[in-house]
């Protein structure tokens, strides 16, 4: 593949990633947010495969496979299972209206692109528009975590935010060292596991949802 073709494909994937992010922000039901984040992870895996063929870096194939297996299939499936098991009636529960979050997300995207055009030479070290898209995904993921009260939506935000970081990291010319990427994925899995345990424990021991926990103040 020529360098221009890779740039074009990465930019296309980037715009699709931003689209899935908007779906996550706009999701009024937890199922939709989970499907959107699974689709997003799938796109990340495709991006890794494209970069692997383009650069001949075999590490990226491994990352593509792990991302596909863990973030596109297993984690969404676990979330899905928890939703069923807890029989979630309360859905997304936003702190501020979803329309306002969408507006904020648009601001984040614009600012990210603005910020990265101000960077000169280093842009060449990162393929295409991966840097602004990565910053936008990370910040929007954090926005989702900060503006949603229910535990599972917050976890979806975390995965989206992690996806943004991965997208930028794999587009850096050299790619991150494989062992580091695997370590990061492992941490994400463990964090998701511990969060799930906490959610279930809160449910079983104090009979409350995470969203009801607001006693600690001052």
């Amino acid at each position: 593949m020529s360098a221009e073709a890779v740039h074009a494909i990465i930019d296309d994937i980037g715009s699709l990633l931003l689209f899935t992010m908007i779906l996550i922000v706009a999701a009024g039901q937890i199922y939709r947010a989970i499907y959107a984040v699974a689709a997003q992870s799938l796109l990340i895996a495709v991006a890794a495969a494209v970069l692997a063929t383009a650069t001949g870096n075999s590490d990226l194939w491994v990352i593509a496979a792990i991302t596909l297996a863990v973030k596109a299939i297993v984690l969404p499936w676990v979330l899905h299972l928890v939703v069923q098991r807890m029989n979630v009636r309360r859905e997304v529960e936003a702190v501020i209206p979803i329309a306002a979050t969408l507006a904020l997300a648009v601001v984040i995207v614009v600012v990210s692109f603005q910020l990265s055009t101000s960077l000169g030479p280093v842009r060449q070290a990162i393929t295409g528009n991966a840097l602004p898209v990565g910053i936008a995904l990370t910040l929007t993921g954090v926005l989702v975590m900060a503006t949603r009260k229910t535990a599972l939506t917050q976890m979806v935000g975390l995965f989206a935010s992690e996806n943004g970081i991965f997208f930028t990291a794999m587009a850096v010319t050299q790619g991150m060292p494989l062992i580091i990427e695997i370590g990061v994925i492992l941490d994400v899995i463990l964090a998701a596991l511990v969060m799930t345990i906490l959610v279930l424990r809160v449910r079983s021991t104090v009979d409350a949802d995470i969203a009801d926990l607001d006693r600690l103040r001052g």
Binding site: L115, S118, L119, G120, P121, V122, Q124, A125, I126, L131, G134, I135, T138, G141, V142, M145, A146, A151, Q154, L158, S161, E162, G164, I165, T168, A169, V172, T173, Q174, M176, P177, I179, I180, G183, V184, L186, D187, L190, A191, V194, M195, I197, L198, R201, V202, T205, V206, A208, I210, L213, D214, R215, L216, G218
Partner: protein, 468 residues
């Protein structure tokens, strides 16, 4: 023996493990003092890491000793379930292990992975009691610090991109290799990267305004875990900040990271003050106090120069030791009165003279009274600020320190003196908690009287690493 559930055997293994860790660290410290930094793959021990490692292992040993007695009491009251003890000890040591890796990491990716590892292990420990409050604190902790730390990862990726641009190859993620090429990195991207890292690791360090999880987590965790969280964990995050500070200082001049650190430091000191004054919950008080002291360390790093940096590193050690002692003494007092409300804890001196004395010592030291160690390091930070002419920052800092001094002494003296509350247990003081506390108090007093050469050496060389 490994399948036992006997509390005494488990505690013995715990103390032995911590003692071995201390012994190994001392050997490592000697090696480094004689032969300079040593690298082992992703890990590397230099004097900067060594300062933090020494603090970590000393506190781990003290925590293990304290836990012996604490656990006996906690099991008898029903705060800890006897059949869960094995997983408790395993988690505490996994937590300590992730902190050891954080401190020794040379590869910035490994640093991040270990940092997130500390979040995962300690989150489980914070919610260990399974109370409503504990679980709430654990959830808040894991969500806020995971948000924060993902900023840290993004900053790491950006700085890696800058380094890979200059020098291709696997070395581009190792701190020591990046330091060699740091002056040639693109300042624009390093600036953005450093701000991301500062927010990320700053969250974990408890710098305001990202500190919201800290008072909850530090106050709801089991007391030995509180001591580790407040004493070492937030310092490990500071070490992460320092590693990136040196890179940023070399790439875009020392003024930029110093300015960022000063801003966060001042905000932390100012934000913590009203909460310290108005606090009734003893462990929350100590939590807010950590926010203040992390702010002071950031101020020292921000003022910079040899004096400010040395003062900041010394403050890391001093505050770690003192805060752990304070949590121990507070935990013992809380168990005695069955309440964390400082309005209930009265006349401690009458029922537990040694514990009350230790609590007073820790409070005096935390408030910054001479001749205790924190006074010395705060003075150094002040001197560095005056030397560099940061008058506004100095004025704000001094005002807040004076206000906190008065507030803390008021809280401490009202707990120690006066008529003993009827609710207080009049049991004799238990040995093991006292032993752990006296160990820390001795170190605290010694560090106030003078800094021994074996600690001064690593501190000086670590200062050289940061200042360059």
């Amino acid at each position: 023996m490994l399948t036992t559930r006997d509390r005494r055997i488990l505690s013995a293994i715990d103390v032995t493990g911590s003692a071995v860790l201390l012994a190994l660290t001392l050997v490592l410290a000697r090696e480094v003092a004689l032969g300079g930094p040593r690298a082992f793959g992703f890990l590397r021990v230099d004097d900067l890491g060594l300062v933090f490692l020494l603090l970590l292992v000393v506190l781990t040993l003290a925590v293990s000793i304290y836990t012996v007695g604490w656990l006996k009491q906690a099991v008898s009251v029903g705060n800890m379930k006897a059949e869960l003890l094995r997983s408790y000890f395993a988690l505490v040591h996994a937590f300590v292990a992730t902190m050891v890796v954080t401190v020794l990491a040379d590869n910035l990716g490994v640093l991040w992975i270990a940092m997130e590892g500390t979040t995962i292990t300690s989150a489980v420990l914070i919610g260990y009691h399974g109370h409503h409050h504990g679980l709430e604190a654990a959830w808040k902790y894991i969500i806020v610090t995971t948000i924060g730390i993902s900023f840290g990862l993004f900053g790491t990726v950006l700085i890696y991109a800058a380094a890979a641009d200059v020098q291709a190859g696997a070395g581009a993620m190792s701190w020591s290799a990046i330091m060699d090429i740091a002056p040639r990195l693109d300042p624009g991207i390093v600036r953005i990267g450093f701000i991301f890292v500062m927010v990320g690791y700053g969250t974990k360090a408890g710098l305001a305004p990202m500190h919201l999880w800290l008072p909850d987590a530090h106050s709801q965790a089991p007391t030995p875990v509180s001591a580790l969280l407040s004493g070492v964990l937030i310092k490990c995050a500071l070490l992460g900040v320092i590693r990136f500070q040196t890179i940023a200082a070399a790439a875009c001049g020392p003024e930029f990271p110093a300015g960022v650190l000063l801003t966060f430091g001042l905000i932390s000191v100012v934000v913590a003050t009203p909460f310290i004054l108005a606090q009734h919950d003893l462990k929350r008080l100590l939590g807010y106090h950590s926010v203040e002291h992390v702010g002071i360390v950031a101020l020292g790093l921000g003022f910079g120069g040899p004096v400010g940096t040395y003062g900041a590193l010394l403050h890391v050690v001093n505050h770690g030791i003192t805060k752990a002692l304070a949590f121990f003494a507070a935990g013992t007092a809380i168990a005695r009165y069955g309440s964390r409300d400082m309005r209930v804890i009265r006349g401690l001196l009458g029922v537990a003279p040694i514990g009350a004395t230790l609590l007073m010592l820790a409070a005096l030291s935390l408030a910054g009274v001479p001749p205790f160690s924190i006074f010395v390091s705060e003075l150094m930070v002040l001197r560095a600020g005056i030397g560099n002419g940061h008058w506004v920052a100095i004025a704000i800092f001094l005002t807040m320190v004076v206000v906190i001094f008065a507030g803390l002494l008021h809280h401490a003296s009202s707990m120690a003196f006066g008529e003993t509350a009827a609710a207080a247990s009049r049991e004799r003081e238990a040995w093991f908690p006292l032993l752990g506390m006296v160990l820390l108090a001795a170190i605290m007093v010694l560090l106030g009287l003078g800094i021994p050469a074996s600690i001064d050496g690593p501190l000086r060389r670590a200062t050289e690493i940061i200042v360059g």
